[in-house]
């Protein structure tokens, strides 16, 4: 059984606030500071270039990939770290299109994170071969899995509402129609149990700075199904994904398995911070996280709905159908969120009217939820958001 009092003690949590934005940027694991310092002084500083071997930097992306793999149901040797999530989306999608090259449609939903859609749209535009990015409502994905679809590109958990797709069912339906799947796990990894292997996902990608607490700009991960990876020749390829990077051959030959999805030099300092976070994750059972997350989010919904009739629940009411966040619609949501932040509840705002709150059992407990509800209630009842200083729209989260 995971000891959430212990995990909470391992994060740097500023006094006086309830941090419900770990779904945007997870807080600092206390040991990360020394871990990065040690990497800088003992490895970069003292070993210099030799650290690529002596500190095994060269294998860091796969070693850490395996640790992430445990959290998303991926076998060892099927996940590798690097770059940013959008780049990994691009790499996965372009690789999938190269395999399913007779078809011309990429299907996604209009609840997908816009960056994924920008990456997809600009990729298809650059191919200049008549591809189409087709968007449907999230509820209509199954109905749109036609025979002209090459790739289904979905984010499992909707970044605004927290609505959860059924990865296993949709992947099965996609495969039945010859469609490859790319799953974005941005709001899934570390938030709930994921089983990419069991679901039969072809590609999966995700970031680590949200629920995995790797810090701002922490690297992304990519998974490719073991049965597929040897057929993948990434469109976006680099030397560290080459079969023999240090032969410096002029011709590209993809590396063994998932290694081929590596591109350039890995961000060693950011990976060190991630390692400190994964040391905490080693003590955690993701099933416990899920149970606690549903408990906390249920408690939050119950409290807010009882206290704040002006806020309309935007997330699925059934905890099994949402990720680890709760969102409410409110027409003055931007100002209201600014007022909440001023009063010690940190959530974020997503246009046009979504107030979003993330729940992360590793460091958020029921007392935090009750305190947040009480503050939200006070802000809403006293219309504290109705203040000129909250009108300007500058929040960046």
């Amino acid at each position: 059984m995971t000891d959430f009092n212990e995990t909470r003690s391992l994060f740097h949590l500023p006094d006086g606030i309830v941090y419900l934005d770990g779904n945007s940027l997870g807080p600092l694991p206390i040991t990360a500071v020394d871990k990065v310092r040690q990497t800088m002084l003992d490895e970069w500083g003292d070993m210099l270039i030799g650290a690529w071997n002596q500190a095994d930097w060269v294998n860091l992306p796969s070693r850490i990939g395996d640790r992430i793999g445990r959290l998303i149901g991926a076998r060892p040797g099927t996940v590798v770290m690097g770059d940013t999530l959008t780049i990994k989306v691009y790499q996965a999608l372009s690789s999938a299109l190269a395999i399913n090259r007779e078809r011309r449609v990429v299907l996604s939903d209009n609840g997908n994170f816009p960056s994924d859609l920008y990456a997809a749209g600009q990729l298809l535009r650059s191919l200049d071969r008549g591809h189409e990015l087709r968007l449907c409502d999230p509820e209509a994905v199954a109905d749109n899995l036609d025979d002209d679809v090459a790739v289904l590109l979905l984010t499992e958990v909707d970044y605004r509402t927290g609505r959860l797709h059924d990865m296993q069912a949709l992947t099965g339906m996609a495969h039945a129609r010859g469609i490859l799947t790319v799953w974005d796990l941005a709001h899934s990894a570390g938030a709930l149990p994921v089983d990419v292997d069991g679901a039969g996902a072809d590609f999966a990608v995700g970031c680590t700075y949200k629920y995995l607490n790797s810090g701002p700009g922490g690297p992304a991960f990519i998974y490719v199904a073991p049965g597929l990876v040897d057929r993948v020749e990434p469109a976006l390829a680099g030397w560290l994904g080459h079969e023999d990077p240090f032969a410096f051959d002029l011709d590209y030959r993809p590396g063994a398995g998932i290694e081929r999805m590596r591109v350039g030099t890995p961000p060693v300092l950011q990976l060190a911070a991630l390692e400190a976070s994964l040391d905490i994750w080693d003590r955690v059972d993701i099933e416990d996280v899920r149970a606690k997350s549903i408990e906390l989010t249920d408690l939050f919904i119950e409290g807010v709905e009882a206290e704040c009739p002006g806020l309309e629940l935007a997330s699925p009411r059934d905890g099994r159908r949402r990720g680890s966040q709760v969102s409410f619609r409110f027409s003055h949501g931007y100002a209201a969120m600014q007022a909440l932040i001023d009063n010690g509840v940190i959530g974020d705002f997503r246009a046009p009217d979504i107030m979003r709150f993330g729940f992360t059992p590793l460091y958020i407990n029921a007392a935090d939820v009750r305190r947040a509800v009480s503050i939200i209630s006070r802000v809403m009842k006293n219309r504290l958001w109705n203040n000129d200083k909250y009108r300007r729209r500058t929040q960046v989260t």
Copy 2:
């Protein structure tokens, strides 16, 4: 006049070695440790998500881009940080191809860094429209600038030999034939004066972990000519390159100017380390670096050639025609480099027979060069490389 004794004191340099591999991984700027620690504790730790505004993380890629710009002759607002060099090569090349879309050839030379060629080759393959990656000898580039060439993709300084292309002349010849140029400045930025604006380069990219000392996996930079950037719609696009990232529109609209080349969340910790290094660069005149670099490399060549007749100079003898490195060919180069490292001279080996030594006046002086020559002389005269322990080929640099 740059005070190189002062700059040398600002780096963490382990005792007992001469580090001639700063062209692969620059050493640790001493203040980087505290800078990163402060970013982790005071910004990530205390400000949490608010740091994107309060610590201005959101503009870090452009602010630092301007500081890099000063070193490569780019005007403010034309350089932005992010990702890795190979990804920036891909982004620049794919953007250039979208502009010059009637032509089907990318011209490069066979001395280019293989990762650039892998990125280019796999990009062209994914386009599947009959593009060709044409390679010629470095000396024959001008003769191959034909009317079917869409993009000239070159690395200014050859990673093996240090041979320097004439960026201004080749760019002018390319433009005269309607060819766009992408310049890789991996071994140029911080090594010698670069004038992308004066040369009329269309795109330029580079990394920061070599001469710019940002640490392992530090972010890359990209420059787009101000007269061109508004026509660029990057194939590899993400939300932070959108005109209004926080509108979360479903449609991509490129951001203003160079901002459009941003993709995902910037690596804030790596950027903090880079900032510490750029604080040193603020004290430095790149013309002084160049003069000192030529002095040091001339001294090195003279010494090695006098002492080690078995080593054949692979770099241009004329200092004006080489970057800030000196390479020698030696059939037992791998073993010899291992023996040198064991004896305190850190350089690196590049297949098949190149022993490579980088010279970085910020922390290498004439006494270091003389000491290195003396050690190399001893290793070569006593054939210290002729030892079984140096036979295995495992170096990763």
